[in-house]
Symmetry: C3
Subunit: 159 residues, 3 copies
């Protein structure tokens, strides 16, 4: 185990929880830590491309889930005070007023700093997400790979 | 501290969060880890027996909570995209189509693999759950026991 | 890293999740551990003073968020079974019937036991919370300070 490794499972697809996850990931990377983020279940929404990608071979239900699940940080809501969808836009204005980084910028910064992005293959198979629907140049793994990384890290969070 | 011990607090009573918890628990157990799962608050719903158990001595409010809280994995909903209760059934169909294990099967597998199930006695006392309403052959502990186990583990998640 | 240090990020502003966080914090402190709790996003609601504090210089949106976000444990709801706001009062009655500590008492006990309370400065700046609106004699830090503490702790939870 090493104090310079961290893992974060992002299960949640909420704007505010994703912000918290990326603020921690960026902070740790800035301090020289190796950070791995595992995107699973609704957390995959956060690393979806914003534009629709043509895919084939999905079942009826998979198509329905994929259509209804939001495409990327621009489309997700808040876990609280969502105000019928207005919560996230209002929080974005607050962040801009404070010159704080937006979620898009936090994601870009994490990638630049070498944070490892891993999409959960089990959720992808279940819901029917294809690799081309997610951000480019990320990795694809299952629970065994997560556990191997967590065993080497000293901070492991589930968000 | 040892790298072959893990603890998971399951606070949430959602189908999807419970799935994530049991997938991690099963994965770790398969890799030879000793895993302890603490079920607290709504997480106790996940280890409730599905059929109603006659009990006595509960207060009016306890009776009300116990009646309204879902009995086991067959009754709980999703944390997101619940579609008025249809979300969990749809996710179960998706899982079946992919030949993925259902939550019931994940729970059974965790038990077979020797994952330790612990029900939080404080929540049980508060809400009025009786031992006979929960799965058989589990353990009953409080926060001190949790902390003792977490101190020996290298991955401790709150889900 | 030491087995007598623990950190808890309280992101959630729900009564039940805050209870879980404070039960763990109090339990660990009673066993002699040094515990640090970081209050971020909605978790700041839990350490807000219950009476309104006059402040100035907030933007329109900040004022709106600050007005709508609950002031302290007496005002927050449950994450589940909230029954249109009646869930938390009912849970408080259940706790009283069982002579369990209320959230207010758990917070007071944590302070008496020397649990360190840290408010996230980034969230405060964003939403516009002023120090005088939060509990007295707490600390104010950012993500780097959290990571420094987490590096020294053996149990790090995100709630």
């Amino acid at each position: 185990m090493s104090t310079d490794k961290k893992t974060i499972i992002l299960f949640s697809g909420d704007y505010d929880k994703a912000m918290a996850a990326f603020i921690i990931a960026n902070g740790a990377a800035a301090m020289g830590d190796q950070v791995t983020m595992f995107f699973t279940f609704w957390g995959l929404d956060i690393i979806r491309k914003s534009k629709r990608v043509k895919t084939s071979g999905k079942s009826f239900l998979q198509n329905m889930f994929c259509r209804m699940m939001p495409r990327g940080p621009g489309k997700v809501g808040l876990s609280k005070m969502n105000f019928g969808g207005m919560g996230a836009p209002m929080m974005k204005i607050l962040m801009k007023q404070q010159k704080a980084m937006s979620l898009d910028e936090l994601i870009a910064s994490a990638r630049e700093q070498g944070v490892k992005f891993v999409a959960c293959t089990m959720t992808m198979d279940m819901i029917g997400f294809r690799k081309e629907e997610l951000l480019d140049d990320i990795e694809y793994m299952g629970v065994a790979a997560y556990l191997a990384e967590a065993d080497e890290a000293n901070v492991n969070l589930f968000i």
